[in-house]
Symmetry: C2
Subunit: 341 residues, 2 copies
């Protein structure tokens, strides 16, 4: 029920997803009166969906604290289904803050992970790249950043299909770098870990679009600013290009001649193609679709979730945590309290 | 003597600058044997320049600690001239780390300013904007950020000619914001200060290119990453556009038809047009030209320095500090130790 065009765009997106994942079984949580007629129109979606009715919806502007009290909201019931093992993952186009908070509290982090991170895939000059954290954690310590590197590594293997993704740690130019011990410690820890051979070292802001590494690791404040700065810059330049081509008859003809390439460029940078940020490090798959998504974008978010489930993302994380633990020679420090060894 | 094409591009740039600032007097510090023949070729530059000879040059890869020991390097002598009042400011295309370190130690900060900041002007959808800090301070406290807002305000008035520049504090989306007390305290302090009417509040990464505010205030780590992310994104998109137009005869004709607009776009985003980062908060004007600049870019860096000198940038800062001090009702806390009241 979440998102600007819900539930119509959601069900239309599931219809596209159903063609790609015919063996998937989806629990569609929301208002039956709205969902039933939609499923009647989208036959492929209907074949893989079961409706779980609830009338309660978490509003897009609702604060996480208020959202947490809505025990029968559609987002909550979907997250409950993951927490109790009924579903392997949840995909939502609803309130991001509420989804983050509910996922952390109800689904909980994987044993051994201190804090989950928000990750997303984006375009670069050398192919798709993964960046995290994008805003789940405003401040992070060395342990968090090392775990983000692991989460990014397994995500790039699982969803981008890479066999040995390179990993970069976002930093500022070496000449200005004074006293950021935390980043240096993180770099040392990564070099000493099983991720060492894939660790490229420090990268800078321009390396994101250049695709210098497949995975970009940073704290949630820097990652959020970098992501939105890149999006804003692309939007500015797209707007200016539109103006350039709209100037005169000649430029309009110029546009028509270059159109196939310009359309490819537009598609290549299309946010819908990259729709589906993920919350990594939880005991279940959580995908956040953009609220303004269309059916294609939502189907892409479902793809991301399906990849993570089918390719057993969390098994990869458990394995990686075990290897980090062995490298550190400190089996106790990484495990969460109360987890049986 | 600093920069990839020095000293030829520097002297050629001074020739352009001399036309715009015929009453300026420039001290050209470097190797006389290299500079004299260049000045013989550039008559306008020769008319406003005096050579101060030194053979020692700080290398582009030299560490600041090593640079500090070179007492007769060209950059050092230029900075000494500012420190002893012989010159009002220095413009250099040399080693950034060395320039920062030398400027801080030799020229020193203005009384009342805790730490200087690196600032630059860039393009946005709503005109030129100023961002700071761009990397001089990896971590900043509330006082630093408030002072950066003041430095940015006076810089935007002095160099962009704005009468009441709007000021934004870079942050992440409100829904993810948890516990960044420092930014909230900075916002409160700015609202309570004489900058209150110009303070727009928090902005996000996409607001930089949108031009939501004239001045963007952030710490040096975030600012450096944001700037380089934006530059990298522009470069990526420019590269892809070139590919689009190079595909076939038709797209090449398309390019020719749209060329005037595309050239305007290229010029508008041209880094040379924005060349000249500044170190604000020092007891003298310090402009850092990009090392890879051409003559036009260096002339622009000189323009920035001249604007700051002619429009008495530091008088504006002294006045602003006095007003901040009055607003806080704590005359002692802002003054540096040892400064007579």
């Amino acid at each position: 029920m979440g998102g600007d065009a819900a539930p119509a765009a959601i069900v239309a997106g599931l219809d596209i997803a159903a063609e790609r994942h015919p063996s998937a079984r989806l629990l569609l949580v929301g208002d039956e009166a709205a969902l039933t007629p939609l499923l009647a129109r989208y036959k492929r979606a209907a074949a893989i969906c079961t409706i779980r009715h609830t009338a309660e919806v978490i509003g897009s502007d609702m604060k996480p604290t208020a959202a947490l009290r809505m025990r029968t909201a559609s987002m909550r019931l979907a997250i409950d289904a993951v927490a109790n093992g009924e579903a392997a993952g949840v995909v939502s186009a609803g309130n991001t803050g509420a989804l983050l908070a509910l996922a952390k509290i109800v689904i909980k982090t994987l044993p051994g992970i201190d804090r989950p991170a928000m990750a997303a895939i984006g375009p670069s000059a050398r192919g798709d790249v993964v960046m995290l954290d994008l805003g789940a954690n405003v401040s992070c310590d060395t342990r968090n950043l090392v775990e983000f590197a692991l989460l990014g590594d397994v995500f790039a293997r699982t969803v981008l299909g890479l066999t040995a993704p390179t990993i970069g740690l976002l930093n500022v130019g070496s000449e200005e770098l004074k006293g950021n011990d935390q980043l240096r410690q993180t770099a040392d820890a990564l070099r000493a870990s099983h991720l060492g051979p894939q660790f490229h070292g420090f990268i800078e802001g321009h390396d994101i679009a250049a695709g210098t590494t497949d995975v970009i690791v940073t704290d949630g404040f820097t990652g959020n600013v970098a992501l939105k700065t890149a999006e804003g810059t692309l939007k500015l330049m797209s707007g200016m290009l539109r103006q350039v081509f709209a100037t005169s008859i000649l430029t309009k003809i110029g546009y028509l001649l270059a159109r196939p390439g310009l359309e490819r460029l537009r598609e290549w940078l299309d946010p819908q193609r990259y729709n589906g940020a993920v919350m990594l490090g939880l005991a279940g798959v959580v995908v956040k679709s953009h609220g303004g998504t269309d059916a294609n974008g939502f189907a892409h978010a479902v793809d991301v979730g399906m990849d993570m489930v089918v390719h057993r993302f969390n098994d990869g994380i458990r394995d990686g945590l075990e290897r980090l633990r062995t490298a550190q020679g400190q089996p106790q420090t990484v495990a969460s309290p109360g987890v049986p060894e």
